[in-house]
Structures are given as structure tokens and as C-alpha cells.
Subunit: 225 residues, 2 copies
């Protein structure tokens, strides 16, 4: 039983919604993998239902352990709806990285190498002042680690204008594709090139604000990028 407990602690429990109908070998419920994919992203795609129809919006997010936080204006739709709806707003939050273009000899087997995380759950408004502050720090630190400590914290007016919602990492799966193109055996001799064109991400030189006060230097945590 000890082994079972350890396994459960390291992975999310699959549910009907997180077990795919196909390509099951591409799915993972490993917490470390899920955290790594989430932490590498800048924007998630948050889905919710409005008047019976789906809405998918890109938005920033932050992670604290097994909790994700999203923030926005108190007037924005999903944040307002999560407060108005009891016991919260059903959402689906998805983060995707495209790692490479997969070119096969056959049109059919063209694909991409990617890593994605899909989180299903109920988004709830965070009202506890301490948790709200922690969540807002996590959102800023998600953009640049350590940045929250090197900026002016939110004041009362800003806090009042900001809604924070929480989504627990509970019903979660990762999905990924890696490696070569998978052509059928009878296509291997075709004269078309096959392989992967990797996509790379990087940072350009930091662009200081036009109104930057004289003498303000680029911080070390940005020089290292």
C-alpha cells in the first residue's frame, strides 16, 4: 500500500474528462511534468460557458503549489461570473507549448511536437486578503521570478479593482508529442524530406520605458536572460 500512496501523491487521478478517447500514450498525470509545463508558460487559455456558448480568453496566471490563480478587473466577465455563480464558475484552463513542426512524407502524418496541460474545475473568487496578496505576488513572479519584491505592491484602490480567482489542480492532465515523424512503412522510401523543424523561444534586449527615471539600472534578474 505504501507504493500506491507514493504513486498517488506524485500523480493526478485520471477522470472521465482527463482520459482521452485516443492517443492515450501521449497523456500523463505526473505532477512534476504538469508543474513544469505550467511554469514555462506566460498565458493560459481560460474557457467558460456564457449563455450556453463557450468563451476562450487568453490571460496571465500564477501557480502556488497545487493552486492556480487568475486575476482581472472586477468588471471582466469570467471574474464577475465566478463571484455571482454559486458554488463558482466551471472552467477549463489550458496551457500549450509548441516545440516543433513535424513534417512527414504523407500529408496525413504531419503534426507538431507540443506539451500541454488541461485543468478542469470550478473557479472560485478569492476573498481572503492574505491569499489575494499571495496570489497577486505569484502572478507577477510568474512573469519574472522575483519581480514582485522589486515593484510597488498593490494599494487599496488597486486591490479593490482586482478580482482574483482560484482553480485547484485536481482534475488535470498533460499531453505531449515528441520525436520524429511517424510515417507508414510503405511511405519511408518516398522522396519527401521528413523530420522536425524545432521552434525556439528566446528574449530580445530589454527595452526601457521612455519615461524611466534617470539612473535606474537594468536589474540583474533581467541581465541573466
Amino acid at each position: 500500500m505504501q507504493g500506491t500512496t507514493e504513486t498517488e501523491a506524485a500523480a493526478y487521478t485520471p477522470t472521465d474528462r482527463t482520459v482521452p478517447t485516443r492517443s492515450m500514450d501521449r497523456s500523463s498525470y505526473d505532477k512534476e511534468l504538469v508543474h513544469a509545463i505550467l511554469d514555462e508558460g506566460y498565458v493560459c487559455h481560460l474557457g467558460f460557458v456564457r449563455d450556453g456558448a463557450p468563451v476562450v480568453l487568453p490571460t496571465l496566471y500564477g501557480r502556488v503549489g497545487e493552486r492556480l490563480y487568475v486575476h482581472g478587473s472586477t468588471g471582466s466577465r469570467p471574474l464577475r461570473m465566478s463571484g455571482e455563480t454559486d458554488p463558482g464558475l466551471p472552467v477549463c484552463l489550458t496551457v500549450t507549448h509548441v516545440d516543433g513542426l513535424v513534417l512527414a512524407r504523407s500529408a496525413f502524418h504531419h503534426s507538431i511536437n507540443y506539451r500541454s496541460v488541461v485543468v478542469h474545475g470550478i473557479a472560485r473568487q478569492v476573498t481572503d486578503p492574505e491569499e489575494r496578496r499571495m496570489a497577486l505576488d505569484a502572478l507577477v513572479n510568474h512573469v519574472v521570478p522575483g519581480r514582485a519584491a522589486d515593484s510597488r505592491p498593490a494599494n487599496k484602490k488597486e486591490l479593490a479593482a482586482t478580482a482574483v480567482i482560484r482553480l485547484d489542480l485536481d482534475e488535470v492532465s498533460a499531453k505531449l508529442r515528441t520525436g520524429d515523424a511517424n510515417d507508414d512503412p510503405e511511405d519511408l522510401a518516398l522522396p519527401h524530406w521528413a523530420g522536425v523543424l524545432p521552434l525556439q523561444k528566446g528574449y530580445g534586449a530589454p527595452v526601457p520605458n521612455a519615461d524611466l527615471a534617470p539612473g535606474v539600472e537594468l536589474p540583474d534578474y533581467l541581465k541573466a536572460r
Copy 2:
């Protein structure tokens, strides 16, 4: 009246769903801008409703004029649902590019520079064989322009296993943020660095398949990247 007609042709008509409740200055309905954002992306996030809850999945797409196409296994959920549901499946398809991290003196004004397109509509299964072939070509050419002509076309078995859905570009909006951090006037003298850290995308060296037939050269359209 001629001017009005020209304006309408160049832009999508805003609807209740595509006019935001805030930051309206970041919205655009310009068709050229929408097309450019869509054509630059590799993956869209497709949202639909299943058992009353939202689902958001990353998937490839292709564009032909004012139509978007998504494909997948005939067994995959959204593609199956779009065929079973009459008159189609309500979806929301979103494409987002993250262009830079915006660091403000205040935690509150941290943001990202981005460009996104949100498409609302009804996804319908494509059954016409000619349109299906054109859509599958568009999907391959979206990954690498011109690639469809340099690969083996889908055979009968592959076509039978592939479902294609169409989403018309009708209820569409783009949203974007560009430029500096926007701090409040009283924060401009704070000692925190403010500005933008640009994110850059590029391609790595192509990785040929391990089972590539001898003598198959890298095509010119991949050398140019």
C-alpha cells in the same frame, strides 16, 4: 454609402460577444490584422461545451479566406460532437501570440504585450470531398507554406478516418497590447526598472528523421528559415 460599404468589407461587424466590457481601445475588427494574427500561429485553442462544462483543447488549424478549418480523428470528441449536433457545435476558437513581458514600477501595471484573435461561431462538419481536400491542404500548408504539394496526399483510408470541421470568420475580434509600461504619474520616480522584455521566436536547425531514405535532401523552403 460607398464609404460605408468599403469599411464593412475591411472589418468584421462587432457583436455583443466581441465588444469587450473594458479596455475597448485594445480591440480591433480589421480583417487584415485578424488574418495576419491567425496566419502566424501554429496552434489554436478550441473551446466547446460538453455536459454543460467548458473544454479547451489545443489543435492545428488552417485558413482559406474567411473560413477556418480544424481536423482530427473521427473519434475525437469535438469532431464527433460537431457531426452529431444539429446545426453544428457552438465553439470559440482563440489564437494568441505573446510578444513581450511588460514590467511596470507597480505590481498592478505588470502586463504582457500580445496579439490575439477570438472567433465565435458554429463548427460544422465538412462533407464535400473537394472542400475536405482543400481544407487538409490548408492545414498542412499552415504548418509549412507549400508543403502540401511536397508530400503524399491522403489516401481513401486516411480520408475516411479524418473529420474536418469549418468555422466561418464572421463573429471575430482581435485584441492587442503594445508599447511601454503604463504606470501612474506618481510612480514614475520609483527606483524600479520599467520597460518591456521582448519575446522572440525562431527556428532551430531541421532534424532529419532517423529513417530518412538516403539521398533525400533538405528542401529549399526549409533552408530559408
